[in-house]
Amino acid sequence: MEVTELKAQIQSHQIQPFHIFAGNEWKVQRVYLEMLAKVSGKELRYIDAFADIYRSLNNRSFVQKSYIYVVRDDKDIMTEEKLQKNLVEILGTNTLVLLLTTLDKRFKFYKTYKDTIIEFEALKPEILHKYIDKEIPLSDENIDKLMEVCEYDYGRCLLEIDKIKHYRNRFVKDIFPNDAFRILLKDGVIYTPPKDAIFDFVDAVLDRKVNTAFNLYQQCMAVGESTMAILTVLYNNVKAVLQVQSCMSSDVGKSTGLNYFQLTNAKKHLNKYSNRMLVQILRLCQQCQQDVVTGRIDEEFVIDYIVTSAFIGD
């Protein structure tokens, strides 16, 4: 089901007894939950598990109040087919909203409730920009920056905006929002997620910048880069440097077969390692790749091992 359909149902007061919300935009989901509560006149109640209210739902009473129950990732609802069949009957005049943290489209639950699940996808940047602008008077440039550091997640943007407002109200009154934003960003109060650092990491290794290399490697891991991807990039760059460094010909491009970009990049890192050491790094990379795919070693140690060997070699 699309969000627009849900909106239409709410506007026409045709609230379904059972809803399923999925996606990362928890703030938008909360807005719709509040709309459901307002239109239906029922109170929102967050519960840990459906089992907590199952008994009370079965004990019907004329004076019992109806609620909109909100539960996250309830295993009983997601796996018990008998419960799924009788859910609407059990709920009676209550409404149940199931929130899903992850949506696995392979499972039977998804196939059964495909038409009921509403995926709250990330807001489009233009729309997010407008929402942020309504919340706090930041410049366009700072709004774009805020969206970028929050990875275009509306909920996260609101949390960071809350920090700015709090800073202004509690600590430095009369400070302009833009200035507050800049200060908090610089001081790291506004969380900036780690960026794609794989190429910077490889450059640091090739330049023998030990601390920088290991810090950037941590960043790569934080972003979730695969070890094999890092290994492949490292290998290709080391090979390019070796080819350029060992080339005797005046026409390096023709002799090595490297393209302009590879050549330019390789030339920045010449003579930091001897040819012998570069060959050793290549052999290490190949051996480690082979050992990982054959299960002889764990991949989590591979990059540390290769980079340490490279730095202490020669």
């Binding site: 060992s246 082979q290 054959t294």
Partner: protein
């Protein structure tokens, strides 16, 4: 089918005795027509044949769902399963242990080590026979170079690939590499890799065939170090997930080190 007479006889007998297993694994070198053999098994069984497009976990799951619905005998061909992911292999465990009625599963591999022991234990492993010279001769179109082709190729698939390259061109390339690999500069040596195919989507000569030819020619020229190093690299190719480009570079460095 070319060759495989003993294997075909064995399978026919098993089918007659109604003892042909529901899950079987056919192991053979690249180019040994394993996938064709899987189709042939379906013909012998009088069953439909469904060739899986790939060995990804979603495809395997769809196959399993389909296998429980079929009404006529069907052979499912899980081809070239060497690079199958762990999740895909695990999803096969239940259905291969208790296969649904009327479903047969045939998996083809280059090396039985490329699959889980738990999968091996659930199926009957059949190794494709080596081809005799007469059987290979029947596949050769380029009669002028028959002797060279028979020296370099051990399977009909290899013959097909080699003939598509042009036997003379291919052998000239390998000889040129042997003659120059140790004498050219390091940066030039790596350029040999540009003529070799490391992935299915690349262009160039098949790496396995190149190394096979390298071994044969080195042997003829008494370059036994070359034979040793290349044979070792050839054996590593059986691990499907190995990075072929890196392996080739490593081989190149080893050969240059020995021959310089």
């Amino acid at each position: 089918m070319i060759g495989q007479s003993n294997l075909i006889r064995t399978i026919k007998q098993q089918i007659q005795e109604q003892s042909f297993p529901r899950f079987s694994i056919f192991v053979g070198e690249s180019g040994s027509e394993k996938n064709e053999f899987a189709k042939y098994v379906a013909t012998m069984l009088g069953a439909n044949f469904v060739n899986l497009a790939d060995c990804k976990v979603d495809t395997i799951r769809d196959m399993i769902a389909d296998a429980y619905k079929i009404k006529t005998p069907t052979v499912y061909g899980i081809n070239d399963a060497d690079g199958m992911s762990i999740q895909a292999k695990n999803s096969l465990l239940k259905v291969t242990e208790e296969p649904p009625n009327k479903a047969y599963f045939v998996m083809t591999l280059e090396s039985v080590d490329n699959t889980l022991r738990t999968i091996q234990s659930r199926g009957a492993v059949y190794r494709l026979e080596l081809y005799s010279s007469d059987e290979l001769r029947a596949c050769i179109h380029d009669r002028a170079n028959m002797d060279i082709i028979l020296e370099l190729c051990s399977t009909p698939g290899d013959i097909e690939i080699l003939e598509s390259y042009g036997v003379t061109d291919f052998c000239s390339f390998v000889e040129k590499v042997i003659n120059n690999i140790a004498t050219v500069g390091g940066s030039n040596a790596f350029k040999i890799g540009q003529k070799i195919r490391f992935k299915d989507t690349d262009e160039g000569y098949d790496l396995r065939l190149f190394w096979k030819a390298f071994v044969v020619i080195c042997f003829k020229c008494n370059l036994y170090d070359g034979v040793r190093i290349t044979s070792r690299s050839l054996a590593k190719l059986r691990t499907k997930t190995i990075n072929r480009a890196m392996l080739f570079d490593s081989w190149l460095l080893d050969i240059r080190q020995i021959w310089r």
